[in-house]
């Protein structure tokens, strides 16, 4: 059996336009088919793979490409994409920031963390900074309530945040 490293762990690929699924993405998707008794079940992993190829979001073109690869109606794929919070239908920053502000984080000051991001980045939630570097959203519990307040930058957890820590983390993002 081959190891399949979760798609979003690898660095995002260069934004692909017009070419459909890359050979690498296609091979990765095909490699997963043996894991499931139906092709449909490959859909979530395939969307993760496509989202990485398209630089963190799923333009119509990506959705169509996945539908074709798995021989599913495009509408079926849209239905799934719109259901899940980790699939995006509009462009995101090169770095995606998710700030948990659910109860345990709220109790330890998450609201202020969101305000700091707003001030430092100068854009609202779900908007991309003009240089394309970052976008941020508030998020439901990320399973790190013991290190609240916390945020996730791409795949990394930043814990026990203070406004200064947030500014440091932002400085480190290219």
């Amino acid at each position: 059996m081959s190891v399949h490293e979760p798609a979003s762990v690898k660095p995002p690929g260069p934004q692909t336009r017009g070419g459909g699924l890359s050979a690498a993405s296609r091979a990765e998707i095909d490699g997963l088919r043996e894991r499931y008794p139906t092709t449909e079940a490959v859909l979530l992993p395939a969307l993760h793979i496509a989202q990485r190829q398209w630089g963190g979001w799923l333009p119509d073109e990506a959705i169509t490409a996945v539908a074709e690869a798995l021989d599913l109606p495009v509408a079926r794929v849209y239905g799934v994409v719109t259901f899940y919070d980790l699939f995006h239908q509009k462009p995101v920053g090169r770095h995606r920031i998710r700030v948990c502000n659910n109860l345990s984080c709220q109790l330890r000051g998450a609201e202020e963390i969101l305000e700091v991001l707003h001030r430092e980045l100068g854009v609202g939630e779900d908007e991309v900074t003009p240089d394309g570097r970052c976008s941020y959203v508030h998020f439901e519990c990320l399973g790190s309530c013991d290190t609240a307040p916390m945020m996730m930058v791409d795949d990394e957890y930043h814990e026990n945040l203070t406004p200064n820590r947030v500014r440091q983390v932002l400085k480190g993002l290219k």
Binding site: V3, A41, L107
Partner: protein, 432 residues
């Protein structure tokens, strides 16, 4: 309570060698699986039944009994889906287990599969847990390479494939049938039960669904026996070690392993007590879905049945602690926002009701509520309770009802003052 309790599930936490197969084996790993393979599958189920192990994912259903519902025989496919969706606010114990001791989970899953004759196991892990997913994938590869998984498990002739399947951000996929839909590549909308997953589960086949922590108990039950397991805990129905995830206003938040049934006071002490010497105002004993309790319950035994008797639930044992400065309206408003966001939208009472709860609580918090809002909240709760397809609807009303019932004066204060009387919660530099 046992005088000296040695951690069981977390014994390898902080030992990096447990991340490798070799290290895990040196720590006694895979002995449970080896032993199980020498037993009859039904004997394995019986041992787990006898241990009294109850599901650690929320509902506390006896694990052995669940396994015994799976039709016997090897002719038709069967599945184990391990619930690693962990999205209940306040819960972070499964992540600890997966990141620190992945083979313990794999071993537990393998024993369960052998017991119910399932040849395939999916570990459904929430999409945000990429680190856990990578660690598990590596551990799985090692297990395949060593012949612990694959066509001939430890030379026994038992065939087992195990895969990590990543979700994509949806709390409802933690509900077992929502999870099955999601695994099959669909929107994670819960199914009507019956049929139960034990009869029609993943891909139409009989399926066991168990939480990560539940399955991590299994190797220990097999190696050390049901009697040992039963010697830990409150009584026959509340047995074994338990992970409690404590967060909020305590000095040292974290995951703590205790015998099930330790009191809330003892647990709080173990976590360093309240932070900054403040007073306890309220605590949630079992995640966002559990009704809120007051300090008069401080000596409550934290097991399934005792917490239920006290008018709440142990749920996922996510304990959220709130100090005297906390606004209960604001806290519950945040939880309602969560349920509104996560409602899958299939049932009108849940979809509309959670939305209304969020709106009413929000206006109360902002000083725009009226005297009638308490009654309005209760009537919304009444319309959701028992009227919706899955347990999310019922979960959503738990915190709201307990706010109205147990903290009526706070709602009144908000209405009278036309503003929230409490300070906004703050972070602290290094807990200072």
């Amino acid at each position: 309570m046992a005088a000296k309790f040695e951690p069981v599930l977390t014994r390898n936490v902080g030992k990096p060698e447990a991340l490798t197969l070799k290290g895990y084996r040196q720590l006694g790993g895979y002995e449970g699986l080896a032993k199980a393979l020498t037993m009859e599958p039904d004997a394995v189920i019986d041992e787990v039944k006898k241990s009294g192990l109850r599901g650690r994912g929320g509902a506390g259903f006896p694990a052995g009994m669940k396994w015994s519902f799976i039709p016997k025989g090897k002719d038709k496919p069967k599945y184990l889906v391990c619930n690693a969706d962990e999205s209940e606010p306040g819960t972070f114990k499964d992540r600890l287990l997966m990141e620190n001791d992945p083979h313990q989970l794999i071993e537990g899953c393998a024993i369960c599969c052998f017991a119910v004759s399932a040849a395939t196991c999916y570990i459904y892990i929430r999409g945000e847990y990429t680190k856990s997913a990578v660690i598990l994938e590596r551990a799985l590869k090692e297990a395949y390479d060593a012949g612990i998984l694959g066509d001939n498990v430890l030379g026994s002739g038992f065939k087992l494939n195990m895969y990590v399947h990543r979700g994509a951000g949806a709390y409802i996929c933690g509900e077992e049938t929502g999870m099955l839909e999601s695994l099959e590549g669909k929107r994670g909308q819960p199914r009507v039960k019956p049929p139960f997953p034990a009869v029609v589960g993943a891909f139409g086949a009989p399926t066991v669904i168990n939480n990560v922590e539940t399955l991590c108990n299994v190797p220990h039950i097999i190696t050390r026996g049901a009697d040992w397991f039963k010697s830990i805990g409150t009584d026959e129905k509340n047995t074994g070690p338990k992970l409690y995830a404590i967060s909020g206003h305590v000095d040292r938040p974290g995951t703590y392993e205790h015998p099930i049934g330790i009191t809330f006071r003892e647990m709080l002490d173990a976590a360093g007590g309240m932070w900054h010497g403040r007073q306890l105002k309220a605590f949630i004993p079992g995640g966002a879905s559990a009704p809120i309790l007051k300090p008069d319950q401080i000596d409550l035994k934290m097991d399934f049945d005792t917490v239920a008797k006290a008018g709440s639930m142990l749920g996922s044992a996510a304990v959220i602690v709130m100090d005297e400065t906390t606004c209960m309206v604001r806290s519950v408003a945040r939880l309602s926002k969560f349920f509104n966001h996560e409602s899958c939208g299939q049932c009108t009472p849940c979809r509309e009701g959670t939305n209304w709860m969020e709106l009413v609580l929000d206006r109360l918090e902002h000083g725009e509520g009226t005297e009638r809002d308490s009654q309005l909240l209760l009537s919304i709760c009444k319309n959701i309770g028992g009227q919706s397809l899955c347990a999310l609807g019922d979960a959503a009303i738990g915190p709201v009802k307990s706010l109205v019932d147990r903290f009526p004066e706070e709602i009144e204060q908000h209405v009278r003052n036309r503003a929230c009387p409490f300070p906004r919660p703050r972070y602290f530099e290094n807990g200072a």
